[in-house]
Amino acid sequence: MYHQKLEQVLENIERVMIGKRTVAELSIVSLLAQGHVLLEDVPGVGKTMMVRALAKSVGAKFTRIQFTPDLLPSDVIGVSIYNPKEMSFEFRPGPIMGNIVLADEINRTSPKTQSSLLESMEEGSVTVDGFTHKLSKPFFVMATQNPIEYEGTYPLPEAQLDRFLLKMQMGYPDAKEEMEVLNRLQYAPPIDELQPAITLEELQHLQHEVKQVIVDEKIKEYIVDLAGKTRDHANVYLGVSPRGSIALMKAAQAYALLHGRDYVLPDDIQFLVPYVFSHRMILKSEARYEGIEPEEVIERILARTRVPVQRMAK
C-alpha cells in the first residue's frame, strides 16, 4: 500500500523532472532513511525543481537557503528577538525549520555557517540562547554544491561530508529528454499542478517501517566486506568508516522498501554503494593525479567481491 504511494511520489517527480528517475529514487531513499543528500552539479539542471517536486508530493513544508559568503548562522537557524509588548525574547525560526530544506550552493558560505547547518542536521535540533528547539519532522536536507566554481568557495571538509547519506549528480538530460522539458514548460511549469501523494504522517510511518526491513546476515557481511575493501585498497588514503557501513545498510533498507520488498538484496547494495561510499573515501594523491575517481575504485571493488548466494552452513 505504502509502496504504491511511494510509486506515486516517484511519478510526481518524474512529471516535473524528465529522465531523472535514479535521482528521484535516491532522494526518496534518503528521505525514508532519514538521511540527507548532497547534490553535486552545475547550475540549471533542475536541482531546485527536484526538491520542490519532492516536497510538494509529500505535502511537506519546503524552505530554501541560498548560501552566500556573508550568510550568518543565525540566518540559517533563526534568531531571538526582543518583543517589547510581551517584555520577552521571542524565537524567530530560520529557514532550517522546514520539512524539506534546500541548502543551495552550500560550499559558498563560511565554514561557521556550514557547520551550523550540518550540526543541526546531525542533532535534529537547534539551540538558541539556551533554548533547544526541535526541528520539524520529517526533516530532510538536500544540499547542492557547484563543482565548477572554486573561486571564493569553502569546500566541505571530509568529516562534514560524512553527514550526508548520499551524494549524487544530476547530469544533463539527453537531447530527447531536453526537448520534452521544453515542451512541458512552454506554457506553465507542471510543478504548480502537483498534488501530494502521501501525507507527512504516512511518510513518518514509512520512515519507521524502513527499520523493519530485513537485512540478512549475509547481506551485512557483504556490506562489511565492501567497506573493508575500501580501507585496504591501494588507491585509497582513507576508506569508508563504520558510519558509512551503517549508512549503506539504512539506505539499502529504504531502497528495498521503495521497491516493495521487506528484505534487502545484494542488488540493492550494489546499486547504492557508489552513492553512499564515494564521498566518504579519500583517494591517495597519486591516484587523483592519475584521474581515478572514487566511483571507479568502488566499481573495481564490486567486481572482485563475491556476492553471497549460498545459504550459510548451520
Binding site: 530485513i214 540478512d216 549475509k218 547481506i219 521487506d262 528484505y263 534487502v264 538484496l265 545484494p266 542488488d267 550494489q270 564490486l302 567486481a303 572482485r304 567481491t305 563475491r306 556476492v307 553471497p308 548466494v309 549460498q310 545459504r311
Partner: protein, 738 residues
C-alpha cells in the same frame, strides 16, 4: 548460377575425402588378419558410397549404382561367365544367397558361402558410409567415429600381428584435420555465416601447421617402451611351443639348445605348469657340464637311461637328504606339454603320473616319461620329496675334494682359450675366503655388489673371438640368468671348485592359496631360469643363485656354535622353518614392480597376492575393460549437458522438504553454468537471472530467483516453494539440454 565452388563446398569435399581415409584405415588390416582377399574392391566401394553421398545423389539412383557395383564385383569374383550375355550366373547367385540366408538362420556360420559374406561386408560398408555421411552432413560431429578408429587400430596392433605404427600416424593426421575442419563448419553453421576463403585459410593454415608440427614432433620424439609385454607371442606360443633357436632373439622359455647363449629375450606369459606345493622352490629339469666359450653342451651321451616307475625311489640323489626334513608332496598340472618331468630338489618318488615308465639320464639329470617305449607328454604328475637342508658347518669345512675319490673332471672342464683374467678376477674375489662355500658365496655376491644389471633386451651375442663369460664380466655387465649362472660356474671352475649349470624354472607366482598351507604357483615361460650347483664332497650338489634380484631359498642348518672365530653371519638364507615364497620372477622385473629380493609382498598378506595374481592373469581383459569404461565415462562426461537435466529432474521430482528448493536451484545454476551461462561470482542472482531470461526469452529464471532470494535473504521457509516452482524449474532445466 554459381560459376565456382564456394569454400564451404570445397571444405565439405575435403571432409568426405578425409573420412574416406579414416574408413580405409578400417579396411587395411582386414586383408592381413582375416583371409579376405581383394580388399581393394571394398575400398573402392567405400569411396564410391561416400562420393555419392557427397554429391547428394537421389537415394534411388545412388542405391541402384551401389547395387550394380556390388553385383558386378561379386560376379567378377565368384563367377567365370561374363556379366551380360549367356550364362545363368544370376540364378546361381540368388540360390547361393538364399542358401546362405537359411544357414545363417540355423547359425551354421561355417557353411555360409564366401559370396554371401562378401555381400554382407558390402552391406556393412554401405551402412557405415551412410553413418559417416550422417555424422558429417547432419550432426557435424565425428569424434565418436574417430575415437573408435583409434581404439580399433590400437587393439589390432596389440592383439594381432597387424602393425599399426604407420596407421596410427595416418589416423592422427587425417583425423585431427577432419575434426578441425568439422569444428569450423559446425561453428559457421551455428553462427549462420557463409565461410569465406579468408576465414577458411585463417582456420586451416594454423590447423594444418599445428597438426603437422605436433605429429612430426610426436613421430620424432623418443617413445617409452610398452609397459605390458607384447601379447602376440603369448597368443602364438600356444600353437608353436616356445624357446627355440640359438642366438639372435630368443623367446623366453625352456629350450634344449644352449650351445650359443646371448641375445635378447622376449617376455612370454604362457603358463607352463601349475604347482601345488607348500613353499616356493626351484624346479629342476637338467644340467649341462661342458662350457664351450659360447654356451653349454653335454660332454657325452648317456650310455643308458635308468628306468624307474611310480612309487619307486628316484634314482637321483643330489645331496645327502637330511632326515629331519618332512616329506612333502607337489602336484604339477601341466599346461604346456613337454616329455620331460620337472622335479624339486631331493625328490623321493613319483607318486602319480600317467606314464608306464620314467627314465633318468645320469649325465644330464633329465627325467623323461615313456609309454610303450615312446616319449609321452604328461598332463599331470605328483612328486613326493623332502626339502634339502645343508649343514653350514659341513659346507664350510670343505676346502677341497679330499679323498672322496669322485671323478669331478667333467665339472672342472673349461675351454682351452678361456681368458686368463676370469681366473684372476675370481682369485681376487675369493682371496679372503678359505673354504669352498664362502668362496662360492663370494662369487655369488660379486654380481650384486658390483652393479651388474638384470636385462633381457639388447644383450649381445659374443663375437667369434669373444668368450661369453668374459664379455659379460668385463664389458657388458648386464644380462639375464644365463649370463650370471654361466659366469659363476666358469669362475668357480677356474679356481678348481666343481660346479655345473642347471636349467629349470623358478617358483612362479602364487595364484591361489589352499587352506592346508599349500599354494598354487603358476609357472610361465617367464620363469624359465638357469642357476648354479656346486659340488661339496660331503654333501653333494648345492644350488647357488648368482642372478641379481633372484633368490633361491636354500635351507641351511646353523650349526655354527663351535666356530667362535667366525663372526660373519651368512647373508642370503632365511631360517629354515619358514619357507619364504618371495622370489621375484623375471616377469616382475620386466614390469618394473620391484627389484629387491623378497619385496613383492607375496610373503605378506595372501589377499594382495591373490589380487596381484588376478591382475596379472586378467590384465588384457582389465585393460580392455578400463579402456571401455574410460571411453564410456568420457562420453558420458562430454554429453552430461544432455542427460544431466533429466537425471536432476527425476532426482528432485519426488523429493520434499525445506532444503529441496535451494538445492534444486543450485543444481540449476550449475547446469546453466555447464550450458555456457555461467554466473560470475560477483554477479547478483537477480542480474544473472535477467541474463538467463534474456537468453531463453522467458521470465522463468527471474521468478525462480525471486523465490530463492526470499529464502536466502528473507529467511522464508522453503517448504511449499518447491511444489509451486517445480514445473517452472523443470521447464527451464530442460531448455538447457537443447
Amino acid at each position: 548460377m554459381k560459376t565456382e565452388y564456394s569454400w564451404g563446398d570445397i571444405s565439405t569435399l575435403i571432409l568426405y575425402v578425409l573420412s574416406f581415409f579414416l574408413l580405409w584405415e578400417w579396411l587395411r588390416p582386414v586383408e592381413q588378419i582375416t583371409e579376405t582377399a581383394n580388399v581393394h574392391f571394398f575400398i573402392i566401394f567405400a569411396g564410391l558410397s561416400l562420393l555419392l553421398y557427397y554429391f547428394e545423389i537421389n537415394w534411388i539412383i545412388s542405391g541402384a549404382i551401389k547395387t550394380l557395383f556390388i553385383l558386378i564385383v561379386l560376379q567378377y569374383l565368384y563367377f567365370d561367365v561374363p556379366f551380360i550375355g549367356e550364362g545363368e550366373w544370376f540364378g546361381e547367385f540368388t540360390s547361393l544367397i538364399g542358401e546362405s540366408v537359411v544357414l545363417t538362420v540355423q547359425q551354421n556360420w561355417g557353411g555360409v558361402s564366401d559370396l554371401f559374406r562378401s555381400l554382407l561386408f558390402f552391406v556393412l560398408l554401405w551402412l557405415t558410409a551412410y553413418l559417416m555421411h550422417y555424422w558429417l552432413a547432419v550432426r557435424k560431429q565425428m569424434f565418436l567415429f574417430y575415437l573408435f578408429t583409434v581404439i580399433y587400430i590400437t587393439i589390432l596392433d596389440t592383439f594381432s600381428p597387424y602393425d599399426g605404427s604407420m596407421a596410427i600416424v595416418r589416423v592422427i593426421l587425417f583425423g585431427f584435420l577432419l575434426l578441425g575442419l568439422l569444428g569450423l563448419q559446425r561453428m559457421a553453421d551455428n553462427e549462420r555465416i557463409a565461410l569465406s576463403m579468408g576465414q577458411v585459410q585463417r582456420w586451416l593454415i594454423p590447423l594444418a601447421l599445428l597438426i603437422a608440427f605436433s605429429s612430426a614432433a610426436a613421430y620424432a620424439a623418443p617413445k617409452s617402451e610398452p609397459i605390458w609385454p607384447d601379447p602376440v607371442p603369448f597368443i602364438t606360443s600356444f600353437n608353436e611351443g616356445a624357446g627355440q633357436g640359438p642366438g639372435g632373439v630368443n623367446r623366453l622359455g625352456y629350450g634344449v639348445d644352449d650351445s650359443e647363449l646371448g641375445g635378447s629375450f622376449i617376455g612370454d606369459d604362457t603358463e607352463v605348469f601349475e604347482a601345488t606345493v607348500q613353499g616356493d622352490q626351484y624346479w629342476r629339469i637338467e644340467t649341462k657340464d661342458t662350457y664351450t666359450g659360447k654356451g653349454w653342451e653335454q660332454s657325452r651321451e648317456a650310455d643308458s637311461l635308468t628306468p624307474f616307475i611310480l612309487n619307486e625311489p628316484t634314482p637321483l640323489t643330489l645331496s645327502e637328504i637330511n632326515e629331519e626334513s618332512e616329506t612333502q608332496t607337489v602336484s604339477i598340472d601341466v599346461s604346456l606339454g613337454y616329455n620331460h618331468v620337472v622335479y624339486p630338489y631331493a625328490p623321493d618318488q613319483l607318486i602319480q603320473g600317467d606314464a608306464e615308465e620314467f627314465r633318468y639320464n645320469p649325465v644330464s639329470d633329465k627325467i623323461t616319461s615313456y609309454r610303450n617305449d615312446e616319449l609321452v607328454e604328461l598332463d599331470e604328475y605328483e612328486w613326493e620329496f623332502r626339502e634339502p637342508r645343508y649343514s653350514l658347518q659341513a659346507l664350510r669345512n670343505t676346502t677341497g675334494l679330499g679323498d672322496s675319490g669322485t671323478d669331478m673332471s667333467q665339472y672342472l672342464q673349461l675351454p682351452e682359450n678361456l681368458p686368463e683374467r676370469i681366473r684372476d678376477l675370481t682369485l681376487e674375489i675369493t682371496e679372503p675366503e678359505d673354504n669352498w662355500y664362502d668362496k662360492a658365496k663370494a662369487v655369488e655376491d660379486y654380481f650384486s655388489r658390483n652393479d651388474f644389471v638384470y636385462e633381457q633386451e639388447d644383450v649381445p651375442v659374443p663375437e667369434d673371438d669373444e668368450d661369453y663369460v668374459d664379455q659379460f664380466l668385463f664389458e657388458t655387465q648386464r644380462g639375464y640368468c644365463d649370463n650370471y649362472s654361466t659366469s659363476m660356474v666358469v669362475m668357480l671352475r677356474s679356481i678348481d671348485i666343481p660346479a655345473r649349470w642347471v636349467k629349470g624354472y623358478t617358483g612362479g607366482e602364487i595364484i591361489d592359496n589352499l587352506g592346508d598351507g599349500r599354494s598354487v604357483y603358476e609357472v610361465t615361460n617367464n620363469n624359465a631360469h638357469s642357476w648354479v650347483e656346486v659340488f661339496f664332497p660331503e654333501i653333494g650338489w648345492v644350488p647357488f643363485e648368482p642372478t641379481v634380484s633372484f633368490s633361491n631359498n636354500v635351507s641351511l642348518s646353523y650349526d655354527l656354535d663351535i666356530e667362535s672365530g667366525e663372526t660373519e653371519t651368512p647373508e642370503t638364507p632365511e631360517p629354515a622353518e619358514t619357507p619364504d615364497p618371495a622370489a621375484p620372477t623375471p616377469l616382475e622385473e620386466e614390469t618394473g614392480l620391484t627389484g629387491q629380493v623378497g619385496d613383492d609382498g607375496s610373503n605378506g598378506t595372501g589377499g594382495w597376492t591373490a589380487f596381484k595374481t588376478f591382475v596379472s592373469e586378467n590384465r588384457f581383459t582389465l585393460i580392455l575393460i578400463t579402456l571401455v569404461v574410460a571411453g564410456a565415462g568420457y562420453l558420458l562426461y562430454r554429453t552430461r549437458n544432455r542427460w544431466m537435466p533429466y537425471v536432476l529432474i527425476r532426482y528432485y521430482r519426488s523429493r520434499k522438504g525445506s532444503d529441496v528448493y535451494p538445492k534444486a536451484y543450485s543444481s540449476l545454476l550449475r547446469q546453466l553454468g555447464r550450458y555456457g551461462l555461467r554466473r560470475k561470482e560477483t554477479q547478483t542472482l537477480r542480474s544473472y537471472a535477467k541474463e538467463v531470461d534474456n537468453f531463453f526469452g522467458t521470465h522463468e529464471m527471474s521468478r525462480l530467483t525471486d523465490q530463492y532470494e526470499r529464502i536466502l535473504y528473507r529467511s522464508e521457509a522453503a517448504d511449499d516453494k518447491w511444489s509451486n516452482m517445480r514445473e517452472l524449474w523443470e521447464d527451464l532445466i530442460k531448455k538447457t539440454t537443447g
